[in-house]
Symmetry: C2
Subunit: 146 residues, 2 copies
DNA sequence: TGTAACTGATACTATATTGATATCAATTAA
DNA sequence: TTAATTGATATCAATATAGTATCAGTTACA
């Protein structure tokens, strides 16, 4: 079970970069090189983020991408939703519907409780928070915090 | 983002059935019909659960499957691990390894915290708990608990 | 003792998702 | 004018998910 797909992972890292260079346009190429994200793949993600009003772009030479929203207003939950679809338990799509199967119904009830917990956590985790983490980590030489 | 795949969903429901008919062998056909799970697909899942020591089988006529472990000793977390692989953030597989990329490292750190929360929840949710939920719901006519 | 009801084992297929690449037109700074 | 850039799309490969088919072996029981 993978929590974040590459798309989300890449998108977050691209935003971290844009977030720490606010006010300037950063090209896809720069982000791609710096964050080691496949160039064309990244471009698709950036387009998607424009469509969702997270960033803006400027065409032509010296063009690129820039944050539109405040980093603190972009929760990772939103990025997961954009790139992986809304968190859902299984596929009883119509939430108010009566489940045909009782076991399934009971299971759903419990899992949806957990789903809420997860969503709350991903809502609290914003790009802004990550940028501050990143700044705090700068200069410190250590491995991944377990 | 789907939390449970069909495999896990089916496996849990099969276990709920075995768990509420403890001491008797229940055939794959019976489970399949009763829980509306594709027969051959279910058989594969049952084999997998035997390999993981969750259930036992008896071959031949009047054969079938029976719980081996106590329902309270089977957390949903384990089933997710068996059928969907261990919950992992992204794919920095070697946890002690130093991440090449600082942004990624910070991101990982935060996500792993959330991962723990999720795992704790799925650990607390056992087949035994679900069976009790199921018994409590029996006879009550209502839709899915939102 | 034959046979129908079972599991064990394995191979196969179809579809969806994920991850990635390629191409060409349009825009813009220098 | 041209090199650097985004916009828009089409295509592709790999992997995961969901499901089917087949045949051999075991067992209860008529």
């Amino acid at each position: 079970m993978k929590v974040l797909t590459k798309k989300t992972d890449y998108a977050i890292r691209a935003l971290l970069m844009l977030g720490s260079k606010r006010g300037e346009y950063v090209s896809a190429k720069t982000i791609s090189t710096d964050q080691d994200i496949p160039y064309q793949f990244l471009r698709g993600l950036l387009q998607e983020m424009i469509r969702h009003d997270l960033i803006v772009s400027k065409e032509g030479a010296q063009g690129g991408f820039m944050m539109k929203k405040e980093p603190d207003e972009i929760p990772v939950a939103q990025l997961i939703e954009v790139f992986q679809g809304k968190v859902q338990v299984s596929e009883c799509m119509f939430r108010k519907q009566i489940c045909a199967n009782r076991s399934r119904c009971v299971l759903r009830h419990e899992i949806m409780r957990i789903e809420q917990v997860v969503n709350q956590e991903f809502d609290k985790l914003t790009i802004g928070k990550l940028i501050r983490d990143l700044e705090a980590a700068n200069g410190v030489t250590q491995g991944c915090g377990e």
